[in-house]
């Protein structure tokens, strides 16, 4: 796994170097996964045999109507839930066999989460929000601060470290959340409807950050129901009725950075 460079700020190339080792082998490997929910009388069969491989450096958009199983799948990928049957290998480790504590450690170190509702802690500065995962990783204080600052700079918020979430725009809050997801140098970034609460220009800004991170080698899995957003990914997987219905590469993928130039600027 990635080791920390003492004083170097994370640059795109460095991120690429760090992630380079995992580029070839599949980071995520899901084998015939089923998920049942027992809701009293009626059993819900949320996932009905899903198999998928995601390689390092991929940028996958998961689409589907509500109830299609995409959220359940995302929760499994995020190690927040365990499959009822089947296997989920994360970087070669069978995650479906781990206990809660080990899962928490994996969420902490290998996964980064970005949510639709940002989910920042209120009355806590941007820097402290970003620092939070490093606290649970039990890193020494200097390194925690260093990493949190680097992470915020990476998303372009180096000048807003001491701001509280209430003092930031939605786009800025989501960028803080991305910085938080990146602070422990995860192998995968999982984003659940990250642009759902944002206007279209800010959404493209967020996608630009994702594309940049992906170019640096970070593996990204994104859940969205907006085809416009899914287009920024390299590959789309469409769920319906608990199964994968379509899995195809994105053609004519737009560059978010280019698109931003054509969009009218909105004053923050």
């Amino acid at each position: 796994m990635a080791t920390v460079t003492k004083n170097g700020a994370i640059t795109r190339t460095k991120l690429a170097e760090l992630q380079g080792l995992t580029l070839e082998q599949p980071v995520i490997r899901v084998e015939d996964v089923h998920k049942y929910y027992d809701l009293g009388e009626n059993k819900v069969h949320a996932l009905r045999g899903v198999s998928v491989e995601i390689a390092g450096g991929e940028f996958v958009a998961i689409m589907g109507a509500s109830g299609s199983g995409k959220s359940t799948f995302m929760n499994l990928l995020g190690c927040l839930d365990k499959p009822s049957s089947g296997r989920y290998l994360l970087e070669g480790t069978d995650v479906s066999q781990l206990d809660k504590k080990a899962l928490a450690a994996i969420r902490n170190r290998k996964l980064g989460f970005v949510f639709q509702g940002f989910n920042l802690l209120s009355r806590t500065t941007a820097l402290e929000n970003v620092e939070l995962p490093t606290l649970y990783a039990r890193l020494p204080k200097e390194e925690r601060l260093q990493r949190a600052k680097e992470s915020l700079q990476l998303v372009g918020l180096g000048d807003r470290m001491e701001h509280f979430p209430s003092q930031l725009s939605g786009g800025q809050q989501q960028r803080v959340a991305i910085a938080r997801a990146l602070v422990n140098r995860p192998s995968i970034l999982l984003a659940d409807e990250p642009t759902g609460n944002l206007d279209s220009r800010t959404s493209v800004e967020i996608m630009q950050i994702f594309q940049t991170l992906n170019e640096g080698g970070l593996t990204l899995v994104l859940v969205t129901h907006e085809p416009d957003i899914a287009r920024f990914a390299k590959r789309t997987i469409v769920f319906r009725d608990g199964k994968i219905r379509r899995d195809e590469p994105v053609k004519d993928r737009p560059r978010a950075a280019e698109m931003l130039k054509t969009l009218p600027t909105v004053e923050d």
């Binding site: 929760n75 927040l80 928490a104 969420r107 989910n119 009355r123 939070l132």
Partner: protein
């Protein structure tokens, strides 16, 4: 997560709802404060009783004339006329465990000095009385043996009488009128304060020779009481036995008949007083302890509200890598911080109210360090005990559900 970070997070969470945290703490503040103040009052009272009893002389015995059953009519203590001067003589001479004895009789009278007058208690005794009760003169001297023999009109006055009749004037050598008879004041007793047993003012008294009292004031030839000192503290019980046997003989009381006198041992009184003040302390402390438990329930209540309010935050924390233990520890420490801060404020409150109680009511209040330490440990314990369930509840949350929580 290291302790400092957890404490910072806990402080921030508590300061988010300052009013609520303060009110929750108030329960613990009142609980801890009440425990400290009540234990302080109890121990202070206990010490005061002990001090007074030891000041009275712990080898002292008190023989009083008893009750009598006359034709089915039972009279109260001090109603019999059978305790006489010769009984006292016999006690001194025949009971080996007895060191000294002094007779006593009493009446109440109006005492006049100049234009001032005062209604007080007049006791008749002999000079050794003051030795037995270890009650020194503050000014002047006691009346003497020869004053007793001659039934002289001399008096020793208590500190309260002196204050009421003489004020700033020097009473020694002055003449007061007790029931219109002139008495010369020869001594003033040092102040003794309220009695431990009855709470009456022991200094509101005038002592005259027993003979003078009997012949000129009351006309009663019998005694109301005899004050006895044993040769040592350990001999008080033996002395009590000897006196009882001797007086039963002298009063010709047959086997199976009730005594017509009563012998009280001050060591017993001391023990009894100590025991009762101990029970009192326990009682007060346990009532105060109940309020501490109520305070703990308040903490539990608020922590449960807090867990529900912050369900989403808990979900986020779990998603980014907090383990169940991390979450549990966080909420537990929050509860303990709440109760410890309440405990600290409660100590100040308890010590403060102890001081106010002792100032306002004039009670001795003893704030013991042990009570403070116990209060701190107990309040931390309350935090852990009542914080455990909410913290467990938080830790058991399903992160997916928690993240979805609105």
């Amino acid at each position: 997560m290291d302790l400092i970070s957890i404490l910072r997070i806990a402080m921030r969470a508590l300061s988010r709802n300052k009013m609520r945290s303060a009110l929750t703490m108030l329960g613990i503040i009142i609980g801890v404060g009440a425990v400290i103040a009540m234990v302080g009052v109890g121990q202070g009272a206990s010490k005061q009783v002990q001090d007074q009893i030891s000041a009275m002389g712990s080898n002292m015995l008190f023989v009083s004339s008893g009750t009598v059953n006359r034709g089915g009519l039972r009279l109260g203590w001090g109603q019999t006329k059978t305790l006489v001067y010769d009984d006292m003589k016999a006690i001194v001479q025949q009971a080996p465990a007895v060191k000294e004895a002094a007779p006593g009789s009493a009446t109440t009278a109006q005492v006049v000095f100049g234009s001032d007058n005062w209604f007080t208690n007049v006791q008749g005794t002999e000079p050794q009385y003051f030795d037995i009760r270890s009650w020194p003169m503050q000014e002047g001297v006691s009346f003497t043996e020869s004053d007793v023999t001659s039934a002289a009109d001399v008096a020793v006055i208590g500190a309260s009488v002196r204050q009421n009749l003489f004020g700033a004037e020097d009473p020694i050598g002055q003449t007061v009128r007790i029931s219109k008879l002139p008495f010369k004041v020869v001594g003033v007793l040092s102040a003794k304060g309220q009695s431990a047993a009855m709470g009456q003012d022991q200094d509101d008294v005038i002592f005259v020779p027993i003979t003078t009292l009997q012949k000129k004031l009351t006309g009663e030839p019998w005694l109301r009481y005899i004050v006895v000192s044993a040769v040592s503290k350990d001999a008080t019980y033996a002395a009590q036995q000897e006196i009882t046997g001797l007086l039963r003989d002298r009063h010709r009381i047959r086997q199976g008949q009730d005594d017509d006198f009563m012998v009280r041992n001050l060591a017993d009184v001391a023990q009894l007083a100590d025991q009762s003040s101990r029970v009192m302390t326990m009682l007060l402390a346990s009532i105060a302890g109940v309020s501490l438990i109520v305070g703990g329930i308040g903490i539990m209540n608020i922590m449960l509200v807090s867990v529900t309010e912050r369900t989403r935050e808990i979900g986020v924390r779990m998603a980014i890598g907090a383990t169940e233990e991390d979450v549990q520890r966080q909420f537990l420490i929050e509860a303990v911080v709440l109760s410890l801060m309440g405990g600290a404020a409660g100590i100040l409150f308890g010590v403060g109210s102890s001081l106010i109680i002792s100032k306002l009511l004039g009670w001795a209040v003893l704030v013991s360090p042990l009570a403070i330490v116990a209060a701190v440990i107990f309040s931390a314990g309350v935090g852990v005990f009542f914080g455990f369930y909410p913290a467990r509840k938080a830790a058991r949350l399903d992160p997916i559900e928690a993240l979805r929580f609105e």
